[in-house]
């Protein structure tokens, strides 16, 4: 009983706090009579969101599609690369610095190149998403693989297990919790990646919608789009968390209990 009460209070505290902030925002906008094209109040934003919902959903659809495509491709590349880098030490030494260096290149500066090379379609956006998502996923997977307790590996070696069997039965499962923490970071970044891609030139998507609204000083529309982007990121994050519970149910350390 008490535990249940505690969970309710725990989720209520941030909700109440956010609610208070919104009320304060609305109040200040009204009292100070701030122009709508400068900063609209939350109620006005909700109104715009409701009014533009069909249009926003259409844009969100293509943004989400780019996200998911990029996300899945990033996962696949990470898995393949991590497997070879883990099993072939020379490859790891060769590739690792390159991997880190690739992250120091600002995405925003290379994204326009993709548009020059691949046009205004979906592909350049998907590439940006892949670039944004790939690094956290690959790094967490590699970290997880490297952190596997050596004693497990010795045990499997003493049982004459093949390298593939050891990878499949020991390394991969033990690296999955770390992999999922990287996946969660990527999930929340992926929408941002797609939006950046769309900003620089696209036919549709939330980024396009945002740039258009911005250019015509429809700040309420910009905020409505931001709200949709946030919701998409949260939805992807939640999806990954659900997948995590489904794929590694054994990793729920919080429900720890002892028998006997």
């Amino acid at each position: 009983m008490r535990k249940k009460f505690a969970t309710i209070t725990n989720s209520a505290v941030p909700l109440v706090f956010i609610g208070l902030l919104l009320v304060l925002w609305e109040y200040l906008v009204r009292v100070m009579a701030i122009q709508e094209w400068l900063l609209p109040g939350p109620l006005r934003i909700l109104e715009t969101l409701w009014g533009n919902l069909p249009l926003l959903l259409k844009h969100a659809q293509s943004t989400l599609l780019e996200c998911l495509a990029g996300f899945v491709i990033a996962i696949l590349i990470s898995f393949i690369l991590s497997f070879f880098m883990e099993e072939i030490p020379l490859l790891k030494r060769a590739f690792y610095p390159l991997l880190v260096a690739s992250q120091t290149v600002p995405i925003i500066s290379v994204a326009p190149l993709f548009i020059i090379w691949f046009g205004y379609g979906m592909l350049p956006k998907v590439i940006v998403v892949v670039l944004v998502c790939f690094f956290p996923i690959a790094l967490s997977l590699l970290g997880g693989l490297a952190a596997v307790d050596r004693d497990y590996l010795e045990l499997f070696r003493s049982m004459k297990a093949s390298r593939l069997a050891t990878f499949r039965m020991v390394k991969l499962p033990l690296a999955l919790p770390s992999f999922f923490s990287g996946l969660k970071i990527s999930a929340s970044y992926s929408v941002m990646g797609a939006v950046i891609g769309e900003w620089l030139g696209a036919k549709q998507g939330l980024g396009t919608y945002m740039t258009l609204a911005q250019r015509s000083f429809q700040v309420d529309r910009v905020f409505a789009a931001i709200l949709v982007v946030t919701l998409c990121s949260t939805a992807l994050f939640t999806l990954v968390s659900l997948l995590e519970r489904l794929i590694i149910p054994w990793n729920r350390k919080t429900e720890w209990r002892e028998l006997e």
């Binding site: 497990y152 049982m159 004459k160 590694i248 054994w250």
Partner: protein, 246 residues
């Protein structure tokens, strides 16, 4: 058949002469204890016997055959249970069978036949984090047994357990040893544990390690809780303690 013989084994690790000259024999179907101070290379010795490491000098024979650098001939049980957190008890203990190429389903059926003996019946679908320390070690022991039924290397299998659980495990293990009669090499820091379980005890010196004492334990197997009251017990225990210089 599976007599373990270690002959003149020497190894230098990281520039330090770890094992100087180790000679020991674990007779067929007997339990042989190995006692020694921390860091004297007991685990290194096991790594050599199990084929994970190659010594600089000397050789290891199991059942008369030279097994240097050959893995997969003996079962090696570590102080840690090393159960995979991703698998339930039944899948964990059937790993050796699956690795040997048995289909997963057949491996499960085969492993399930032994759950009773290892005190795990009813827990087959539990994950390691749901088990107590004693149960985890029994599961690790079953996995050890399913890999090799006749030659076991046990590296301080009970070191992480509390005194009461440890005692219970001793009584239980005595029964298991009587039932399967494997050849066992047993590393421990606990003199009473060694005297309770072993037919023979080797005491190793500090680094560079040699065998300091080889002693047969005169009490008949299976031992009982009252073995400790045997008239000879005190003298045997003193001799081992002296060799350990405690």
């Amino acid at each position: 058949m599976p007599e373990i013989v270690v002959k003149g084994v020497q190894i230098t690790l990281a520039g330090l002469l770890t094992l100087r000259e180790i000679n020991l024999v674990a007779a067929d179907r007997s339990v042989t204890g190995i006692l020694g101070p921390s860091g004297c290379g007991k685990s290194t010795l096991f790594n050599i016997i199990s084929g994970l490491m190659k010594p600089d000098k000397g050789s290891v024979f199991i059942g008369g055959g030279d097994v240097m650098g050959k893995t997969g001939l003996v079962s090696y049980m570590h102080q840690k249970d090393l159960l995979l957190p991703s698998l339930n008890v039944l899948d964990n203990v059937s790993i050796p069978l699956v690795l040997r190429g048995m289909p997963r389903k057949a491996a499960r059926t085969e492993a399930a036949r032994h759950l009773q003996t290892f005190g795990l019946q009813g827990f087959e679908s539990y994950y390691p984090w749901q088990l107590s320390g004693g149960m985890k070690q029994r599961a690790a022991m079953l996995r050890t047994y399913l890999f090799s039924s006749d030659t076991w290397l046990l590296d301080e299998p009970f070191a992480s357990l509390d005194a009461i659980t440890k005692r219970k495990m001793h009584t239980w293990l005595t029964g298991v040893l009587e039932q399967f009669r494997p050849t066992v090499l047993f590393i421990t820091h606990d003199v009473d544990e060694a005297l309770y379980l072993c037919d023979k005890v080797y005491v190793l010196s500090e680094c560079p390690t040699v065998v300091k004492l080889e002693m047969s334990i005169p009490f008949s197997r299976p031992r009982q809780n009252r073995t400790i009251l045997d008239q000879a017990y005190g003298a045997v225990r003193d001799a081992v303690m002296d060799a350990l210089s405690i």
